[in-house]
Symmetry: C2
Subunit: 386 residues, 2 copies
């Protein structure tokens, strides 16, 4: 499949996107002796300080991406703000394998296609419809209840690209805000009164599948703040989430590592919420928490190497995102206590500028018991200002 | 001490030397959000594929080193084939802190100075003398017995720079081979009939000291092949080795991370054999084996950050070096079994060319019991050809 063995001198993995996910993945590629190349929007992105092989460009510049691809042995990506047709063109013109494949990517590249893909595969999702006009907006509320959520099909993350529809008037305002009136595809989704948000990472390639533990993700202001591993729910529910994640992976014939987010409802139903075709914030704990991290299995998966064990090294892991506290050039203050704690592991992403709420790093604490470990992690994280 | 906080955007750590030790240390610097710069002899060195900031030069080029240093917030090194006077000039001219300091480095920079330093500090070493002529060579054999070892004071490693003196004739030949006749400083050292070779890593800076477990190192053809952690010797002896390593560290007022190699004699005496002012092959197991790896504590130590816990994550770790099996461009074959073993962790260094006996990577296996863990590690390593 590749021009040379992924474990031979000079094998080069090209990342489309230069953010912290690509950077953490690249650290593992280096560990296998690989070279790394970055296709990034800005030289300030974390991956760009880690390689002499940087191309700056837009994610829709097929010619530049193709030239970049031609210098790489395999391509992968670290965000979903890409176009499947662009990816297919780049792969086909360059002849460089790209994982996840553009075909898998196409099956989830916007939220409407994604819901359709997983619904058709029998994976439970929240009730949803594509909405095109006021009549659709009104009918959705009537059919599935108010309030509900409006989402732009493409480009949303961390709560951006969402609006809550409380009634027809606010539905119309949300629809307009998200660009629905100028033709951007919008979907309506029933508001799920969930008790927990869960996530499962899955790596998959021609060697098989590796399924990480089911975790709980805890959001603040729509941004993931804390991840608790394993999710404090009954084991059969955890297992069911893992099975649904694998089914979703198979439904799109995915190669690479994907994150799947679920809602757990009050009546213990699991609904697939979103998927991400890349390493995922909910999997950062695995760097120290698992025998093989999500980043190592990302590299293994896209290089078609055998996948590694996801066994947990300790019974519990808690990850806390270090969100920007100031608008300023990055300085991590108050990190001393974390540095002295044997079970704590601090990661700072190497971004140049902090701003309130921006993901600047994370802290993972391993432990034997959930409540205590979470408390230690949150206490340590609180003392850090970044 | 530094121009800006080590945890602020753009803080740059400069490595003098671009080999695998610098590369593995750099992976940890990236994890703290730091930038990395390489001063290397060749663009093919492992660290050079990991940074856009590479300077190619000789290790004695003070002007070029000073210019390099001026672009960095802190400097460190990854081998001892440097000159303390050069390091001092570079630090003083650039104003960039350099750890380990040239003063500590000077106290161990050649084997004669090193033996004198540690002897004077009361740390037991093998009997030794500087030898300058045939009379010295003859007298050493008479005083301390035949055979003995001749060592060039500077530049030896992995058995290079050593010769065995069986009698006066072979002593003269070895002395000549090592350059003694053209004035290179040579020392004679009593041959120690050791039962084991041991090593201890110590990190130290203004925050304190972190002492790693005492390990056993097993050599083949003078090259470290296997490291067993902890060393299978009585606990009081392990503790004594750790105490001697700390005493050695204090004797030279060292900042950074140092490796200390010991002989264990048949009558259970510990003799300090060699010191290395940098991460050390005997400490690679700590990447997965300890709460804080030697590379993380290297970065913390030279950046004057609080040192991390050296607690072992599992009772036992065994590291096996993956030595080159062929003279060829690097290709790691037969790695599949290691990739499937949850307790095994493979590192390939990203060197371009393999040759028999060259250190190309390593494999660490964690476990609960020594014999079994070592057997698994050696079996897995045997299946890898690199």
């Amino acid at each position: 499949m590749f021009r040379r063995s992924p474990l031979s001198a000079g094998f080069r993995i090209g990342y489309i996107g230069g953010g912290q996910l690509a950077a953490m993945s690249a650290l593992q590629a280096f560990r296998f002796g690989m070279d790394v190349a970055a296709y990034a929007a800005s030289a300030d992105e974390p991956l760009c300080r880690m390689t002499p092989r940087m191309t700056l460009g837009r994610p829709d510049d097929i010619d530049l991406l193709t030239a970049f691809a031609a210098t790489c042995d395999v391509l992968t990506l670290e965000n979903e703000f890409l176009d499947a047709a662009v990816l297919a063109a780049v792969r086909d013109r360059s002849g460089t394998p790209l994982f996840p494949t553009p075909e898998s990517f196409a099956a989830i590249e916007d939220k409407i296609v994604e819901k359709r893909t997983f619904s058709e595969a029998g994976i439970p999702v929240a009730d949803w419809r594509e909405v095109r006009d006021e009549a659709d907006l009104t009918r959705f509320g009537a059919d599935f209840g108010w309030p509900y959520i409006l989402k732009s099909a493409k480009g949303g993350y961390d709560g951006y690209g969402n609006a809550t529809a409380y009634d027809v008037e606010s539905a119309k305002r949300g629809f307009a805000k998200l660009g629905g009136e100028s033709g951007r595809p919008i979907l309506a989704e029933a508001l799920i009164p969930f008790t927990k948000e869960l996530a499962v990472m899955v790596a998959r390639n021609e060697h098989g599948v590796a399924v990480y533990p089911c975790v709980e993700t805890i959001q603040e202001n729509h941004i993931c703040k804390v991840v608790v591993v394993p999710a404090p729910i009954p084991v059969p529910l955890r297992r069911q989430a893992q099975e649904l994640a694998v089914a979703a992976m198979e439904a799109i014939d995915a190669t690479g590592i994907f994150g799947f987010e679920f809602f757990l409802t009050a009546d213990n139903r699991l609904l697939l919420n979103e998927s991400a075709p890349r390493p995922h914030n909910s999997g950062h704990y695995s760097i120290e928490g698992c025998a093989t991290s999500q980043f190592e299995n990302h590299v293994r998966a896209v290089c078609q190497l055998p996948l590694g064990s996801v066994d947990m090294r300790r019974p519990v892991a808690v990850m806390v995102n270090l969100l920007g506290t100031h608008a300023r050039p990055v300085t991590a203050d108050g990190i001393g206590a974390s540095f002295l704690e044997p079970d704590a592991h601090v990661h700072i992403y190497g971004k140049r500028w902090s701003r309130p709420g921006r993901k600047m790093g994370h802290l993972t604490v391993l432990g034997d018991e959930l409540t205590d470990t979470r408390e230690r992690a949150e206490t340590l994280a609180k003392s850090i200002r970044v």
